[in-house]
């Protein structure tokens, strides 16, 4: 069975854009390592390893979104909720590196663009929405689930539009007139649907963790939620 993933292949973006996104990814990852180290303690480190492994597993599970079109989890929303934005972006990046080097999934030359879109942009947009929504929505499992779905949809569409922007700046093949506009519309539509799947998977996972071990959900730290967070020991 042929398995495809939402990863940019080798040769789709031109050399200059591939190089520029590699620089963006390197700068972003450096910042994530610096800020992420503050969060990484004896408890978060193994949890972050698990989050990366779990995202790898769920990225194999393509679900249909339209006839002949599928999608899979990107993972930024899940990672941001469970281990925070900095370590979360690093989790997704490690998954992308393993996929590119070992599973021929996403070009090695496209790794900078894939990390920029799926690890940095996806996780950052998700976390900004999570911070706002967790303070506005009711502090219940339903509120947490709604946060996951809304953040999932918007963050996946943001990642997809990141690719469209990169292609506009320097795709390898010049498209016909109006081609890029229709690509942007199609990418937004399919990825909004993929984002709903992402949101549902994320909601089920995070609500399950929050009910069994609320202390292991990074995004719930510091929030006084009688329904979800037990008082700190």
């Amino acid at each position: 069975m042929e398995q495809l993933a939402l990863h940019i292949s080798n040769g789709v973006l031109g050399g200059p854009v591939a190089a520029a996104t590699a620089v963006v990814a390197a700068v972003g990852l450096t910042l994530c390592v610096q800020r992420g180290r503050r969060d990484l303690d004896d408890r978060l480190a193994p949890m972050a390893g698990l989050v990366a492994a779990f995202i790898f597993a769920v990225q194999m599970l393509n679900f249909p979104v339209l006839p002949g079109v599928s999608g899979h989890l990107l993972g930024g929303t899940l990672a941001a909720l469970l281990v925070g934005p900095w370590v979360g972006a690093l989790c997704v990046s490690i998954v992308l590196v393993v996929q590119a080097l070992m599973f021929a999934d996403g070009g090695v030359t496209a790794l900078g663009a894939n990390i920029t879109n799926m690890a940095l942009l996806n996780t950052a947009v998700a976390y900004l929405l999570i911070v706002v929504l967790l303070r506005v929505l009711p502090r219940t499992p339903a509120g947490l689930a709604a946060t996951a779905v809304v953040a999932g949809v918007v963050a996946v569409v943001a990642a997809a539009l990141g690719f469209v922007l990169q292609y506009a700046l320097g795709g390898a093949t010049e498209l016909t007139a109006g081609g890029l506009g229709s690509i942007a519309a199609v990418m937004t539509g399919t990825h909004a649907l993929i984002g709903i799947g992402e949101g549902v998977i994320t909601a089920v996972t995070v609500v399950t963790v929050a009910k069994t071990r609320p202390d292991l959900v990074y995004a719930l730290r510091g929030l006084r939620k009688p329904d979800l967070v037990e008082s700190a020991a």
Binding site: E2, Q3, L4, L6, I8, S9, G11, V12, L13, G14, V33, R37, L40, R43, L44, A45, P46, M47, G49, L50, V51, A52, A53, F54, F56, A57, V58, M60, L61, F63, P64, G68, V69, S70, G71, H72, I94, V95, V98, M102, A104, D105, G107, T109, A160, F163, G171, A172, T173, E174, L175, T176, G179, S182, I183, M187, T190, H191, L193, D215
Partner: protein
């Protein structure tokens, strides 16, 4: 601070089941990016581009490839085993790499909470 070992092991078992078993039931249809990438081109039954103008035209062979390429381990007999072995190996490699890097870079002493 409660221990996380039991939780992490349980989570890893779930990930191994998803990647090792459930993955064989995943959709094989082109994903959102792939389907957008071939818009404007005609594609034959084997997935090869036969004409037109589209983003996927520039795509080249993967630089590395390898025995686990496309999550289909070449040393396994049959589709299910090829996907299952790829998934299990991928989960374990990702956990070892990510867990090792995060453990090595963690703060050694947590502030009192």
């Amino acid at each position: 601070m409660r221990r996380t070992t039991g939780f992490v092991i349980a989570g890893l078992v779930v990930a191994l089941l998803l990647a090792g078993v459930v993955s064989s039931f995943a959709s094989g249809a082109p994903d959102g990016l792939d389907s957008a990438s071939t818009r404007g081109c005609t594609v034959d039954a084997a997935g090869e581009i036969t004409g037109g103008t589209c983003m996927a035209q520039g795509a080249k062979e993967h630089e590395v490839g390898g025995p686990f390429a496309d999550y289909t381990f070449t040393g396994a007999g049959g589709d299910f085993a090829a996907t299952a072995v790829s998934g299990v190996v991928g989960v374990l490699v990702t956990f070892a790499l990510a867990g090792g890097l995060f453990w090595a870079t963690r703060r050694r002493r947590a502030p009192a909470q």
